[in-house]
Symmetry: C2
Subunit: 421 residues, 2 copies
């Protein structure tokens, strides 16, 4: 089954927002075995929406529009869809009642902009929105199933999961099987991986493909299998995935959609251990990653972000003479930061960072991207030096992921595999 | 001039990565006065690339492809473009030399995957890439100007800025003028803004449009003017922008693409003041935002992330009896956190947060989303209570933006305008 996702609104076309909705929709529909062959962003004019509907691939059976359904007057999708279908907007009293109920729950008054959202194209079936005032809409035209959803991500996600997917499951039979398995690697560049995986790629059957998905500090390796039902594609992909996993055992940190911070969190919880952080160049980003994970208070106790020179002395007892002789970006400094953080924060494990995130602050001996990472475990204290490339954002991200991976290796007893590029 | 941006690769279609490149390209081309009427993501097959080229809008003059040019074998764009144009791949020795130079700079060896990147379609003009091994390509076919660039964001950006834009400027004359001006507001929902701006919208001329761009905690208001040259669109948009700014003076925190943390950073630098943070529910995210800004060491000294109950006592002297009687999420706790953080971190301003980011941790009196924010200035200490909605990520983001905005208002002497929803 072929689908297209269409995002409506100038904000994506002029680059004011990033289209995160389509990625989320791609993943969701893909997991349902639906093949998205195109995603597009268009302007919210009847001309552009009409053109998009007319230039669909002939095999398209499902279209999901998002965006352009807010309460304000710059959102024209609803009227444009009505014009396209040649119908008028009609009032849906049950939608208006639903909006009133939502507002009384939030203790807010319904204004006329909110009420106008109960006017919908005559040929649509409204999809009730529990998270906001713009209802979703379903249309069936010429064998096509068309959904139109608001662009606010958490409203759109709710409508997809709770309204659209059940409707799609009801109406479709799917003949193709699709399987994806993703392996997560950290710290080794794409081309070195490709070299290592050449033989593996050569032996892959034509219906299983390997894709490299690099992002700062890591490469995700995705195996995708696609075949008509009855070809055991699932078990064959599993078999190949196991081979891939063994080939890269030293640098794999997880699978699928797991984030490094979730993996580290699960390990800490399993082992009943606690973590704290002493951050300099990463500026709080490691702490943020750890605390993004719900329930992290089970193992995360706190952090000290000692950005200023003298706070490293005063809060973490880094001796002034070491700071003067070795500089803040040095092995003894991150060692002392990790040791002292473990005491001050009263934790089993402490990680520390000090580096030059740039663009300023470099010297002849210490270039931008130089980062020292320290780790204190119940058994020992170690430090590793890295030279990351990229801009400030990438260096902060790479150093933070590397610090969490060093912690992960310590937790699983594989510290010997830390690579220092 | 009409342009289309086309991203190649399954990773966007199956939702494994978010298409940030297209947003960036949209902004860049828009600033050049080029109108992007469509962005799409397609699969990397000759069929799909061919279909995309055939179904361009008849007015399209410029196409930018990104993606699918890496050193690994899953990237098929280059061969597919050659097939489409009916040419073969030819070896470009100057591209190979360039790759060798790049690698010797990074002290890495060139392997055969890297060398294969010097083979390009015979009809292309290569664009040298200083940031990676995949060259960009330019094609001229049937009055169309087509660029193909690697998908790695910082390589793509370099090629656009340093190679593509100068070539476009050389080859095009632009007849339309486009102007965008964006006002940044924080803490007031979209529909309340729409109510307030009704009269303003009614008086806008047809060639100037207002768009609402909401994201967690803030709404960006974009005025866009578009008219043939000679219509003074720039000065007319400026005039409307000034009216909008006055109407919303109380809630505006900035303009254009500025981020809250950049605005706060500039104010602190101007005034020669320092800032520190005591974070609980925001978990390091405020510190991360502040330290994303290059040069922040001029004003940011450090943070204490006191996630665990007892660290609030031990590091920030929050009295145990207050924690027991009022709970960690309370006015006296954030007041004490801000006061003590200012002393420990030795800063002029300190902000503090304590709240329930969820999904766990709520009680009958303290629901998910309840956040107390404290601020200590050289003159006083204050605390504000907020009830944010959304998931964990949104609550952390909204609370952090609000804390920075409270700091901003204190710095510009407008503390009376803090709204507590």
């Amino acid at each position: 089954m072929q689908a297209e996702v269409i995002t409506i609104g100038d904000e994506i076309l002029i680059g004011q927002i990033v289209d995160t909705n389509s990625a989320w929709l791609g993943k969701l529909l893909n997991n349902e075995g639906i093949d998205i062959h195109q995603i597009r962003s268009i302007r919210d004019t009847s001309d552009d929406i009409g053109h998009a509907l007319k230039s669909l691939h002939p095999e398209t059976e499902l279209v999901v529009f998002t965006g352009g359904l807010g309460p304000t007057r710059d959102d024209k999708t609803k009227q444009t869809l009505a014009d396209y279908f040649g119908v008028s907007l009609t009032h849906h009293p049950e939608v208006e009642r639903h909006i009133e109920q939502l507002f009384s729950r939030f203790n807010r008054e319904v204004n006329k902009f909110n009420r106008s959202q109960a006017w919908l194209p005559a040929n649509c079936i409204p999809l009730f929105n529990e998270k906001g005032t713009a209802p979703g809409m379903m249309f069936r035209e010429n064998g096509l199933l068309i959904f139109s959803l608001p662009g606010v991500p958490y409203e759109m996600k709710h409508l997809m999961e709770d309204r659209v997917i059940p409707l799609i499951r009801e109406k479709m039979t799917i003949h193709q099987e699709m399987v994806h398995r993703t392996l997560l690697t950290q710290g080794v560049p794409e081309s070195i991986l490709a070299d290592k995986l050449q033989e593996f790629e050569d032996q892959l059957p034509p219906d299983i493909k390997l894709a490299y998905l690099p992002s700062p500090g890591r490469v995700r390796l995705r195996l995708s299998g696609k075949a008509p039902k009855g070809n055991e594609i699932k078990s064959r992909v599993e078999g190949q995935f196991a081979v891939l996993h063994r080939a890269l055992a030293e640098i794999v940190y997880g699978e699928g959609d797991e984030e490094m911070e979730e993996i580290v969190g699960s390990l800490l919880r399993e082992k009943g251990k606690t973590i704290g952080v002493a951050e300099s160049c990463t500026g709080g980003y490691i702490s943020h990653l750890i605390t993004r994970v719900p329930g992290c208070s089970d193992y995360f106790r706190g952090s000290l972000v000692t950005y200023a020179y003298d706070l490293k002395e005063n809060l973490l007892n880094v001796p002034n003479d070491i700071l003067l002789s070795e500089g803040a970006v040095s092995q003894p400094v991150v060692i002392q930061m990790a040791k002292r953080a473990a005491e001050v924060l009263n934790v089993d494990y402490a990680i520390s960072t000090s580096g030059i995130a740039g663009p300023g602050g470099a010297t002849d001996e210490k270039p931008v991207g130089l980062v020292w990472i320290g780790i204190r475990t119940p058994e020992s204290v170690k430090a590793y030096q890295f030279q990351f490339n990229g801009d400030r954002e990438r260096i902060i991200r790479k150093a933070s992921l590397m610090a969490l991976d060093i912690l992960r290796r310590a937790l699983v007893g594989k510290s010997e595999f830390v690579r220092t590029y």
